[in-house]
Symmetry: D2
Subunit: 349 residues, 4 copies
């Protein structure tokens, strides 16, 4: 009954095998290893983007901060949701890597920005000449931090607004594949065909030890990105171990299979939650995590039974029994349906 | 005959086993995994420093830049050798992480700063009130980038100078263990007992996939370091894979054994080089890398025979046959004495 | 009928005389000029703060950004109003000078944060360990960007909240004196006695050419501030011209007199506005600027008659005649009551 | 007998008159004042550069740091002399404004870089791919910090080297006009015709209160510069007072006349020094400052007689009487030939 995070589960055995296999003899470092050439091609093929620049880093925050810095100037403001990981969970890494850019928070519905709320936020900035921050890129989390997923049409609407102001669009794809399999579209359809300029293509939350790809559909910024990565201390000397993970990830659809397993487990979990009286599922989750409201007493029961997850909105240990508190449950590829059933059973007791 | 770098060889099988073993079930992330508690204690024991702050990162540049940033202010200058990795090979990462500090280059003998050259460099700074940079920490690479090793007495002399100006001393220990086994002293003797305040304790060049420990003997800066690491995007969600590597490294003396193997191989290589006419060994190498001068023709012969290493001071492919060029040879734990013998044989033909 | 800004009017003749008088012979530079010693003492006397650190800069943005950087760490977030000059009108200068800190926007009434809204905003941050930004200083604009003034009790309530979280409080006093004379209290009462730790004490908007004092009631940070000022390129070699302005400002109550003139003119203007049908005065202005709503047609009439001021919420030139648009009117020390009367007369025609 | 610095003397009376004249009524702020349009045109005319971007700031460090930041990337290194003001006297302002670029020190003769030393320094950088800093702009101080002046041919040789590597050239012209009148060439000849891309055109050391112009011969970076200036807090609201100074400076050749007076005074001083036994004039000074060696006893005599200047290389108060110490003497436009004669007389006694 472990639902704390999709970065708390194990890496997939095939990824570990690939890591072992990569550990043979000498290999060139710093991204010049032979497997990286294959990885780059695999990603270009998957994204139907033969010219895309593709670079690997080891953390999602590095992927986001470096990619946004590449798309921004320090005197700009980046448009994102108030729940965005880049705003809430990166300890000012975007501000650090951009050299002091600002984040402008855009209103959301179901944790998703909309074309009108984005338009309104952009219109409010850069009305004061050089005095205010200048408009910078739009960052869209797909799937969102609340488990919802932008449709391709919704993405297109957002990037259309961005383009109308000459702004770039970035996708924080820490849970890219969870969104992709939820939508059932192609990687190209969910990105550059929908107007996205650059993607943080996550692997860590979906069965890798720690690898993310930064993908730029305009390769002109590739060298700049490489220099930013190096001076950010994110270029690995023994890069082969990053390449190997990503190679295994993209082989035989492992990335898609793991995301499907995570999403399916979450759907099972949601279905269970919906059958529990006193529980209210929040937002309209479609990927691998779900927020729900339940009375404190119910949280206490579940936690006492050994369930592990975050209670976000208050202390589950002290307060009125009937106060509604929000919990977050996350499923990764290794999530166990049996554990989900036991969790739901505890809630129903 | 692969002597390009000690970051080009494989990780030790025991490290890989530990990684596999760590890949079981769920684990808390972000450094809160159980093995990290053990790793912290192991390092404290090894360094005889029960209160030391210990944190892991995945690259040597991250270890150096984050540690120096923690010891510095942006208006200061860091004293280091002109060959220092932080000056030559980190693409301004120290300048980035410190928020714009400067590096002041100190004269060296055998790639080592001396107490008088350090004293002279420090005296030249901060003579202009707020106009010039203020004096900041001293960074000492042990073993040096040229393969030499500071004696404990030499380290003490440097840190004594630093302390006389109220400055902190940092050790860039990317090849810490190679130096340690060369000196045959304890980790405590080579660090805090010699006046060192903080260490980048390297593992990546000595048989790990990519882990370095940042050690502060004054734990007061621990929380500051953690925040710097997080906003630098160097905090791993699946931290267990860093912990596992370091745990295996420090178990049963693996770290010492690997460094000894690398040093022994290099000593074998140096002995061989000294028997080659036309070859001149540079500096006084004591650890796992050696610089040497040889005529272009000799480099060409070795490279043609399949040897791989950097020729630093000119193009080995074109120019006069008898022009002396400098080569760098590095041995890691997995270096093969047979390959060394073959390499020497090619040089002697 | 010039109401564009209080930084568009002339400097006071006495300030110009002081500047001329200062232009004699040689003087030490960089703040070591003799008049600066007097200025420092005058400010300490006025603020009843014998130990305060006092430094001069030439722009309000420099005063704010440098002072906040001195009170902050790069991984923190600064609490301020959404209308704060530091958020809206400094092109990310606070983010730049702090090295990448964030600003958290606090809800306001009449452009003033309240103890409960500040408390709520602070409580929402730093709930995620090292993942989110850490709580940083609170910045309070006095008088506010909308012309309202915090009472001493309101200031105390805010700083009490800040202190309860261990946070420092900064006052952006670009219009410090306008607020002071509105409240009729002492500078000490409006600052350190009310819990303020540091003040941007403005002169530029109140009759100087361009000088602000940065005042820290805890002088321990004085040297740090000086280094930040120097590396920010805000230390003037010919500092005497800053000292001379501030000296004249504080002599014979000129600063208070000019602020009173500006406030009185604005009160006269507000009284006039309140007599115009179709005009709605916004907020509860008490200092030297006033926002008001009026139909587009009325704005057009005023502008056509030669009035100069900003229309903030839409294009005064095109749109429905009866659409209400917000105008901003600012009075400086030199504001002309006759011009005000003519302006009101145009609105009433 | 005041020779401390050319930033310690008074502003020229005509500059003060212009300041008084500018203090009439209302004026648009932030560089939109009418006189700035004239100033921009005057500078374009003087430099024969009809498209140049021209912006004013108030300190020389701001001019240098902002201009270099506009020409650089944070992962680059700026080439300059070891005596460069940007290296020695700006407390890391270039590192701050560039976001962490490095400075590479180029060998000099008479405080001047030469084409070969510059070429050698550039060749040594960027030989390590993304690992080392990338090559950035060259910064040339004209006149140098030691009073020497690059000939136009020397400038051309330097910028030719820079261009051969695709690098931009910046001129730190804190004493631009002193060099210009020493050479007797045109401003165009000393800058863009000699391959210079951007100039810090100083006024502060040459009779203004505090104004420097930043001139870019390629105006494409103008908007970027403006945003950097604003977020650096160097945009003046009451900009008219900067414009007025620069306007007076450029009117009727005042700038040239003041520089000539300073240079002439210095030539008089040098001639005097050369007649003093035991005094050795250093470098080959051609502008308005001179370094000289003299025994401690002689410095003591001069200082005791009331002369004011910096002794750079040791404590004039204590040590052997016959130890040679270096002094620096600077003349500004207001330098008094009588005082110079008295100073020389004291040395000769």
């Amino acid at each position: 009954m472990f639902f704390t995070s999709d970065n708390a589960g194990p890496a997939h055995p095939k990824v570990m095998e690939a890591l072992m296999a990569a550990n043979q003899g000498y290999a060139s470092g710093y991204g010049a290893d032979a497997p990286m050439i294959e990885v780059r091609q695999m990603i270009r093929d998957i994204f139907e983007a033969p010219d895309a620049a593709v670079h690997l880093v080891a953390t999602g925050t590095a992927a986001n901060a470096l990619t946004l810095a590449t798309l921004s100037n320090p005197w700009e403001t980046i448009f994102c949701s108030p729940m965005a990981h880049i705003h809430e969970d990166e300890c000012n890494a975007p501000e650090f890597y951009t050299g002091g850019a600002k984040l402008t928070l855009v209103d959301t519905y179901d944790a998703k920005m909309t074309a009108p709320t984005l338009q309104a936020a952009i219109l409010k900035e850069e009305t004061r000449g050089v005095h205010g921050p200048q408009r910078g890129p739009v960052s869209i989390t797909q799937a969102t931090e609340k488990g919802t997923v932008y449709t391709v049409a919704e993405l297109m609407a957002l990037t259309k607004v961005a383009k109308s102001f000459g702004l770039k669009s970035h996708m924080d794809g820490a849970r890219f594949t969870n969104a992709l399999v939820a939508l059932g579209c192609t990687a190209a359809e969910m990105t550059w065909k929908a107007g996205i300029d650059a993607v943080s293509f996550g692997g860590t939350k979906n069965g890798l030890l720690g690898v993310e790809a930064c993908i730029f559909f305009d390769p002109a910024v590739s060298q700049q990105f490489e220099l930013r990565r190096k001076r950010g201390a994110h270029l690995f000397s023994k890069h082969r171990y990053l390449s190997a993970q990503m190679h295994a990830y993209l082989t035989d659809g492992l990335w898609l299979n793991m995301a499907r397993q995570a999403n399916d487990a979450c759907a099972h979990l949601i279905a269970g939650l919906e059958g529990v009286s006193d529980v209210q599922v929040l937002f309209s989750p479609q990927s691998n995590l779900v927020f729900f409201d339940a009375p404190r007493a119910l949280h206490q029961k579940a936690l006492a039974a050994g369930a592990q997850y975050y209670v976000m909105s208050g202390d589950p240990e002290s307060g009125p029994d009937d106060e509604m508190l929000t919990g977050r449950l996350v499923c990764d590829w290794s999530a166990d349906h049996g554990a989900i059933d036991r969790f739901i059973a505890h809630l129903k007791q």
